[in-house]
C-alpha cells in the first residue's frame, strides 16, 4: 500500500470518533457517557497511531528500511489500485442485489450463480446451470426446514407459484 493510505484511513477514523464524541454532548446524561468516552478514546488512539506511522515513515526514510509493516493480510498494493481490482466483483454483487429486489431470492440466486460460474468460473453453460439448480434446491430445502424468510421483491415467480 502507499504511505498515505494508512494515514488517510486513520484520518477518517479520527474524524469519525471526533464526530461521535461531539455529537454525544447533545445526548441526555445517561446516554452521553458511553459514546463520549469511546469517541475520546478513539481520537486518542487514532492520533497515537498516526504519530507512530509518521515516525516509522520518517525513520524508514532515514534508514532506507521498509516503513511500519502491516500485521498480516494481502501484499502491499496501493489501496486505490487494489480497489480497482475489486470493482468487477462488487459490480457482480450489486447486480445480484438488484436481481433479488426485482425477482426474488431464488430466481436471483439461480441467475447469479449460473452467470458467475459461466463467466468468471470458466465453467461450461451446462455445469453452470446445474450449479444454479443445486443452489436453488439447497435454498428451498434449508428455507423450508429452518423456516427461513427471504427478501421482498417486485415480482417473485416462486412466491407467485406458491412455492414460498
Amino acid at each position: 500500500m502507499s504511505r498515505s493510505d494508512p494515514l488517510i484511513g486513520l484520518g477518517v477514523l479520527l474524524v469519525l470518533f471526533g464526530a461521535m464524541a461531539l455529537s454525544s454532548l447533545g445526548f441526555p446524561t445517561r446516554a452521553r457517557f458511553y459514546p463520549l468516552f469511546v469517541g475520546v478514546l478513539g481520537v486518542l488512539l487514532a492520533s497515537g497511531e498516526m504519530w507512530l506511522v509518521m515516525r516509522a515513515a520518517a525513520r524508514s526514510d532515514a534508514d532506507a528500511k521498509p516503513a511500519r509493516p502491516v500485521e498480516s493480510g494481502p501484499p502491499p498494493v496501493a489501496l486505490a489500485r487494489a480497489f480497482r481490482d475489486v470493482v468487477p466483483y462488487l459490480l457482480w454483487l450489486v447486480g445480484y442485489l438488484a436481481a433479488i429486489a426485482l425477482v426474488g431470492m431464488m430466481t436471483a440466486s439461480g441467475l447469479f450463480v449460473s452467470a458467475f460460474l459461466w463467466r468468471e468460473g470458466d465453467v461450461s453453460a451446462v455445469r453452470a446451470g446445474l450449479g444454479a439448480v443445486a443452489v436453488v434446491v439447497l435454498l428451498l430445502v434449508v428455507g423450508s426446514v429452518f423456516s427461513l424468510q427471504w427478501p421482498g421483491a417486485l415480482f417473485d415467480p416462486f412466491a407467485q407459484l406458491g412455492v414460498l
Partner: protein, 490 residues
C-alpha cells in the same frame, strides 16, 4: 446418587430418546455449518416440535442440538475463514491459516476432538458443581460482570501482536458500532440517522459475516486462487494428527474447558466472548505463544474446547435460577418450561432425574457430534481446494441468506455489504479485524453493568474483593502478554 446417574443413562439409551437426541445432533450440525444461523435459530426451529412431546425425548433433542452447534461451526471457520456461529470466531485466527497451508483436516480433527473433550468436561463439571453453585451464582453482580467484560477487552492487546495501539483502535471501533441503537440506561436512540433498521443496533451475525467473509472472498477472487492448493491439501488422514495434537495438548484442553465453564457460568456474558478469552489466555500462557495467529494448532484447540464446555457452565444458572446465560440458553429455557419443568433449586432435588438426563444428553451429544463431524471432515475439507471463482457465488448466496435472518429486512443485506467493504478497507490498511468483534460483543455488558454498578453502589464497588481479583488478573494477563510480544523477534 450413583443409582440416579446410572438410571438417567439408561433412560437416555432407550431407542426413542436416543433417536431424538441424534435428530437434535443432526439439526445442530446443519445449523453450525451454515454461517449466520447459530444455536438460537436451531433451538427456535425445534421448539414447535416440543409441544406435546414427552419430557425425556424432548430434552434429549433440545440438548443434543445445543451441544453440537459449537462443534460443527468449525467447518466454515477453518475452511473458509467465515465464523459458523458466534462461538467460532477465534477459531478462524489459526484454523484458517492452517487450512491455507493444506492442513484443514488436522485443524478440523483437532477442533472436533477438543470440542468433544471440552463438552465432556463441561458436562462433568455441571454434574459436580450444580449442588454447590447457588452461592457462587448469587455472588456475581454487576461490578463483577463489568470487570469480566474488561478482562475480555484486554485480550485485544494479545490479538494485536506488536501493534497494540492499532488493535485498541479497532476495539474502540467495535465499541462505537455497538453504540448504535437504543441506549441501555435510558430511552434514547443513538446514531440511528432516523433509520428504523438501526434502532435495534447492528446485528452481530451481520457484523461478523460482513467483516470476515466479504474481505476474504474478495481477496480470493482477485488472486484467482483457492483457499489451498489441491496438491498441498491433506485430505482423509490429517484428523489423526489433530487427535494427536489434542492428546499432546491435554492440559491446554483441560484448562480451556475449565475457563469455558467458568465464563459460561456467568449469566449474560455469552458464547461470543468465551472463545476470545480462551484464545487470548492460551496465547499468553503457552510457550511459543508468538506462533498464535499464524496457524498454531493450539489456537484452534483452546477456543474449541472452551466454547463447548461453556454450554455446561451456562446450564448452571439456567437450571438453578432460570437465568439464561445466552440467547441459546434463553430459548432452551423456554423449551424446558414448555415441557412443564420449573427451573430452580428444585431441579437438584425433585427434578434430579431430569437434571441428570440433561447432563448425559450433553455428554453423549458431544461425543456423537464430534465423531460425525470427523467422519464428514475429509469430504468437507475438499471445499478448501475449489477455486474461489467457483466457490464464491455459492458462499455469497448462503451468507446473504444467513445474514438476512438477523432481522429479516433489507437493512441486513445493506449492512452486510457496507460492513464487508469497511472490513476490506481496514484489512488492506493493515488493521486487525478480530478486535472490532471483541469490542462490539462486550460493549453492551460494559455500558449496562457500569451504569448499574454506579447507580447502585456509587464508587464503593471498586474495592470489592471480586472486582479487585478480576482487575489484578486482567492487569497481570495484559502485562504478561505485552512482555511476550516485546520478546518476539522483529
Amino acid at each position: 446418587m450413583i443409582e440416579g446417574i446410572l438410571q438417567a443413562l439408561l433412560t437416555l439409551l432407550r431407542p426413542v430418546n436416543l433417536l431424538f437426541m441424534l435428530g437434535g445432533v443432526a439439526v445442530g450440525m446443519a445449523v453450525g455449518i451454515l454461517p449466520g444461523l447459530g444455536g438460537t435459530v436451531g433451538l427456535s426451529l425445534l421448539l414447535p416440535f416440543v409441544f406435546g412431546m414427552e419430557q425425556e425425548p424432548a430434552i434429549a433433542m433440545l440438548i443434543g442440538m445445543a451441544a453440537v452447534v459449537h462443534t460443527a461451526d468449525t467447518f466454515p471457520s477453518v475452511l473458509l475463514g467465515v465464523p459458523g456461529s458466534s462461538g467460532s470466531q477465534a477459531t478462524i485466527m489459526d484454523g484458517y491459516p492452517m487450512a491455507r497451508r493444506g492442513q484443514a483436516d488436522r485443524a478440523l480433527g483437532a477442533a472436533f476432538f477438543a470440542s468433544m473433550t471440552g463438552g465432556l468436561i463441561g458436562a462433568v463439571t455441571l454434574l459436580l458443581i450444580l449442588p454447590l453453585a447457588r452461592p457462587l451464582v448469587l455472588a456475581v453482580r454487576s461490578p463483577e460482570l463489568f470487570m469480566l467484560a474488561l478482562l475480555g477487552l484486554s485480550m485485544v492487546g494479545i490479538l494485536s501482536g506488536k501493534h497494540p495501539v492499532r488493535g485498541g483502535l479497532m476495539a474502540a471501533l467495535g465499541l462505537a458500532i455497538a453504540a448504535i441503537g437504543a441506549a441501555p440506561a435510558t430511552p434514547f436512540y443513538r446514531f440511528t440517522f432516523d433509520q428504523l433498521y438501526l434502532y435495534d443496533g447492528v446485528p452481530l451475525a451481520v457484523l461478523a459475516l460482513g467483516l470476515f467473509a466479504v474481505p476474504e472472498l474478495l481477496e480470493l477472487l482477485v488472486s484467482g486462487s483457492a483457499v489451498t492448493d489441491r496438491d498441498a491439501a491433506v485430505v482423509g488422514r490429517g484428523w489423526r494428527q489433530g487427535l494427536a495434537d489434542v492428546i499432546r495438548e491435554k492440559w491446554l484442553v483441560f484448562r480451556s474447558a475449565v475457563l469455558g465453564v467458568a465464563v459460561g457460568f456467568v449469566p449474560g456474558l455469552g458464547g461470543s466472548v468465551v472463545d476470545w478469552i480462551s484464545y487470548g489466555v492460551a496465547a499468553q500462557t503457552s510457550s511459543g505463544g508468538e506462533g498464535f495467529g499464524n496457524g498454531d494448532v493450539r489456537g484452534v484447540i483452546a477456543p474449541e474446547s472452551s466454547n463447548n464446555a461453556k454450554e455446561g457452565g451456562a446450564l448452571i444458572p439456567t437450571l438453578l435460577f432460570g437465568i439464561p446465560g445466552s440467547g441459546t440458553t434463553a430459548v432452551l429455557l423456554g423449551g424446558l418450561v414448555l415441557l412443564g419443568l420449573q427451573p430452580g433449586p428444585r431441579m437438584i432435588h425433585d427434578g434430579l432425574g431430569v437434571t441428570l438426563l440433561i447432563v448425559w444428553s450433553l455428554a453423549l451429544a458431544n461425543v456423537f457430534g464430534a465423531l460425525a463431524c470427523v467422519a464428514a471432515s475429509g469430504f468437507v475439507a475438499r471445499l478448501a481446494t475449489v477455486r474461489a471463482s467457483r466457490l464464491a457465488p455459492v458462499l455469497l448466496v448462503v451468507m446473504l441468506a444467513g445474514a438476512y435472518q438477523s432481522t429479516r429486512s433489507w437493512g441486513d443485506i445493506v449492512a452486510f455489504v457496507l460492513l464487508g467493504l469497511m472490513g476490506w478497507v481496514l484489512r488492506r490498511l493493515g488493521f486487525p479485524l478480530p478486535p472490532v468483534l471483541i469490542g462490539f460483543v462486550l460493549a453492551a455488558s460494559i455500558e449496562r453493568n457500569l451504569w448499574i454498578s454506579m447507580t447502585r453502589y456509587g464508587w464503593s464497588w471498586l474495592t470489592d474483593p471480586g472486582v479487585l481479583l478480576i482487575g489484578v488478573a486482567t492487569v497481570a494477563l495484559t502485562a504478561f502478554g505485552v512482555h511476550l510480544n516485546r520478546r518476539e523477534p522483529s
